[in-house]
């Protein structure tokens, strides 16, 4: 059995499969490829790929600290592979983040739009900087092969100590700040995990995981290339990890006892089982195993222990990243198989790059040879003319690329069709505002109002010369009539002067088509014949239809106008209201010095004491509000019924 080739084959198969899923994710979105929703927006990809991935990459800063700062020279053979693993780990984190983010093209925003109060801001910056530092730390190794870059390499080698220090510093910062992310969720995260010292726990467990990751990576790569494992050096790491795990355990236990949560560990809920399992796998069992000197030198125990710590700590990250929140949100989330394969695929690609680096650069003291690169085994021919062009470098190139292509195609085959053909975002119907002089705007009836003093606004518009233009997309809506209703009621239905907002903006969160074709064609409606609007000889479509303004000359469209063709889209209710209200408020707040908060969210969206809803009592008694849980933008599957 050719271990290298088969390992690579499996990795190529998985990455091809994952690539197909990733393609679907970018074309059709997260609804097709994940089980996430607005209530559980962080799933496996954040828990495992990002949080776990960062933790798995901790080996880099741990080993550089041991080697460069503590000057333990005997760990030299582990430094380069560990730094490489860390670098690839971070690149993998960045890629999985891109896949998980809803709007991945906005990822650069963090560089320009600063929010220094957010832990995520710190995490983001640390990841960016540390990835760069790791790149600079590792790049002398591949540069060795290119003599013309010797000057760059010498420069990097000269200032290596700076990078090492920076690397350790940045890692310390953000391994812990990943924990700080969850400090703002005391009510969401289950109490066994939630603690104010989460950052410290994250940092200590990252050190343990880093040590075990170096162990595992060394054992695995030596197994693949059939080399003798570095058991003696690894045994030292295993002995060191006992102390780290012990510290972690003590810190965690003391915190739990001080916060009076000890009884929760044994309260029999599934979270308590999860907690016990996690603690056993990640800490207790490996610590006991490695504490015995005889065991820590045994390579089988090294395998078992390192895998346990890795699985345990990554499980801890998954728990905190989502699993331990399910109790509070009441949601049920199990990762879809596509999510699992994306995670596996990212790991596979990283592993392939790792193997490539090992085979082509001096990551190890002795570079392994590609066992298939023997002449006369598999000659390569040009595919069109069948001309022979010499022996291939890597003879498995043909096999592996074929494996990738086939598994990609299988991935495309298995993508669930029902999700691909989903009807998109659920259309939440808008309910009209109620009230008289003061309107109570509550489009989705979730009992969260905006009080809108209609009469006061009319009076204001009459007294003040308000003029502004709102633009969205390619369209512009001008408001400059001082005392006309049209300032806000910009477009009314035929025979009406002030149609209500909800009549066209009839969907809460999505664009809607406000042109009612069937009404125009119906006998009971406009009673028009097809040829009244459509040119007879052509296919009946929007293209061949007359413009609305032919029959309704008074219409002034603020509709989306594209290539001279109207598309009758009304913005979603929320967008329309925000556009109109906020634009005007923002313009006015600049003019009025005494009302700086006019355009702030809380000016309109007020929280009222529970039960009162801010309604006058007489009105509240008269109106029976149907109180529903707030509606989310759920993706509907075809087999489900549309919620009207």
């Amino acid at each position: 059995m050719n271990r290298v080739r088969n390992t690579k084959l499996i990795l190529w198969l998985i990455s091809g499969f994952a690539a197909a899923i990733a393609l679907n994710r970018f074309i059709f979105g997260l609804g097709v490829t994940t089980n996430l929703n607005d209530r559980t927006p962080w799933g496996l990809w954040i828990g495992f790929d990002v949080m776990g991935g960062v933790a798995l990459a901790a080996g880099g800063f741990v080993i550089t600290a041991i080697f460069y700062i503590m000057k333990r020279e005997e760990f030299h053979p582990l430094v380069k592979p560990a730094v490489l693993t860390a670098f690839l780990g971070y690149v993998a984190v960045v890629f999985s983040l891109l896949i998980d983010l809803g709007l991945p093209w906005n990822i650069w925003h963090m560089i320009i739009y600063w929010n220094p109060h957010s832990p995520l801001f710190e995490v983001g910056w640390c990841v960016m900087l540390y990835t760069t530092v790791l790149f600079l730390e590792f790049s002398p190794v591949p540069l060795e092969n290119f003599s013309r870059y010797a000057r760059i390499r010498n420069f990097l080698m000269k200032y290596r100590f700076v990078f090492v220090l920076l690397g350790i510093m940045l890692s310390t910062l953000h391994q812990s700040s990943l924990g700080s992310l969850f400090l703002i969720m005391p009510f969401k995260l289950y109490p066994l995990w939630y603690t104010s010292i989460l950052p410290i726990e994250f940092f200590i467990s990252a050190i343990a995981l880093g040590l075990m990751m170096i162990t595992f990576e060394s054992l695995l790569s030596h197994w693949i290339y059939r080399r003798k494992p570095e058991t003696d050096i690894i045994a030292k790491l295993c002995r060191a990890v006992v102390w780290v795990l012990l510290t972690y355990f003590l810190v965690k236990m003391i915190d739990i006892i001080v916060e009076d949560k000890f009884a929760m560990i044994f309260n029999g809920s599934w979270q308590s089982f999860l907690f016990i399992t996690e603690l056993l796998i990640s800490t207790i069992i490996p610590a006991i195993l490695f504490a015995v000197p005889k065991f820590s030198r045994n390579s089988k125990v090294q395998w078992t222990g390192s895998i346990m710590v890795i699985v345990g700590v990554v499980l801890n990250r998954i728990d905190i990243g989502g699993l331990a929140m399910l109790g509070a949100t009441g949601d049920s989330y199990t990762p879809m198989w596509t999510e699992i394969f994306i995670s596996l695929g990212i790991i596979s690609v990283a592993a392939l790059v790792f193997l490539f680096a090992i085979e082509h650069f001096n990551v190890w003291d002795i570079q392994p040879k590609e066992p298939d690169a023997l002449p006369h085994t598999l000659p390569s021919f040009d595919y069109s003319s069948k001309t022979w062009l010499g022996n291939p470098d890597v003879s498995s190139l043909t096999t592996h690329s074929l494996a990738f292509v086939v598994s990609f195609a299988v991935g495309m085959f298995l993508i669930p069709g029902s999700r691909l053909h989903s009807k998109g975002i659920e259309n939440v119907k808008v309910n009209p505002a109620s009230g008289f002089d003061t309107l109570f705007i509550n489009g989705n009836r979730d009992d969260r109002f905006v009080k809108f003093p209609h009469q006061a606004h009319i009076a204001w518009l009459k007294d003040h010369n308000v003029s502004l233009s709102i633009s969205y997309g390619n369209n512009e809506l001008s408001i400059n009539s001082i005392d006309s209703c049209q300032a806000c009621h910009h477009l009314s239905l035929p025979l009406e002067k002030q149609s209500n907002c909800w009549q066209c903006h009839s969907s809460m969160y999505t664009k809607t088509n406000f042109f009612n074709h069937d009404w125009h064609a119906a006998k009971s409606g406009a009673n028009l014949r097809c040829k009244d609007c459509h040119t007879p000889a052509e296919t009946r479509s929007l293209r061949s239809a007359k413009k609305c303004t032919t029959c309704h000359p008074s219409y002034k469209f603020a509709a989306e106008v594209k290539n001279g063709k109207e598309k009758f889209y009304a913005l979603s209710y929320t967008d329309a209201m925000h556009d109109l209200c906020v634009s005007c408020h923002a313009a006015e707040s600049k003019k009025l010095k005494d009302k700086p908060n006019l355009a702030r969210c809380t000016t309109c969206h007020k929280t009222y004491p529970e039960g009162s809803n801010g309604l006058p009592e007489s009105l509240a008694a008269g109106l029976k509000w149907k109180i529903n849980p707030p509606k989310f933008n759920n993706v509907i599957l075809p087999e489900e019924k549309l919620v009207k």
Partner: protein
């Protein structure tokens, strides 16, 4: 039938289309890779680029070659290729499917263009098939797959033509549609692994044939080994 149609239109199409696109990218990559390697190995780095370009051009737009024998056959072959490439890509119905599923669309053929191009392609394919059978020289050069490919390419064109132009009962329509899709998908799968791969490799073939004559130094033994004549003198 509906289920089968949906299966052929959904998962099976995705599988076959992915195989075709990635398969073509793969062989193109492997070809370029091999060419680059061969180039790196040779001592003689001169390449007759002008000649390569003019020859490639001549093969892709073979109007110059019309001076040769079998002028009719060559003209038919060119016309056949035009319909074969344009119709599947620019047919309105096909674009509509893309638009509905992925949301992308591009310019489409008008009905009459589509009709005449399809009819033309069918006629040219049949006449090429007959030509291969009748003309002595082409018959000698033809392999089995050359005939089979023409027949296979005919299936989706004929069935598609029937579906688009004839008024038939729904059951018949569905049957023809199924055959149309399945044969199209079979073609997709076969493209990267057969002679049809020339659709992406054609621009490279002249470069390859130039490179193939540039043997790296000391390769005579290797050549003999590959030809199963170890020890023979070159």
């Amino acid at each position: 039938m509906e289920t089968l149609l949906n299966f052929a239109r959904g998962p099976l199409f995705r599988l076959c289309f992915a195989l075709m696109v990635l398969g073509l990218i793969r062989i193109l990559f492997l070809d370029v890779w091999a060419a680059l390697k061969a180039f790196r190995k040779t001592d003689d780095k001169r390449m007759p680029w002008k000649l390569i370009f003019s020859r490639t051009w001549e093969w892709i737009f073979p109007f110059k070659r019309l001076k040769n024998n079998f002028q009719l056959y060559s003209v038919i072959s060119i016309l056949f290729h035009i319909g074969l490439i344009i119709v599947p890509i620019f047919l309105f119905a096909h674009i509509q499917l893309w638009k509905e599923s992925v949301g992308i669309s591009w310019i489409s053929l008008s009905y009459s263009w589509a009709f005449w191009l399809t009819t033309g392609t069918i006629i040219f394919a049949v006449s090429m098939f007959i030509g291969r059978l009748v003309i002595k020289q082409t018959k000698l050069l033809s392999r089995k797959q050359d005939y089979l490919w023409l027949l296979l390419l005919l299936i989706p064109f004929v069935t598609g033509f029937v579906c688009a132009n004839l008024t038939v009962s729904p059951a018949t329509y569905h049957f023809f549609m199924l055959v149309h899709m399945l044969s199209g998908e079979l073609i997709f799968v076969l493209i990267p692994f057969s002679k049809i791969a020339h659709c992406v490799l054609a621009p490279l073939s002249q470069v390859i044939s130039v490179l193939a004559w540039k043997f790296p130094p000391m390769t005579d033994d290797d050549i003999c080994t590959t030809l199963n004549k170890k020890g023979a003198k070159v």
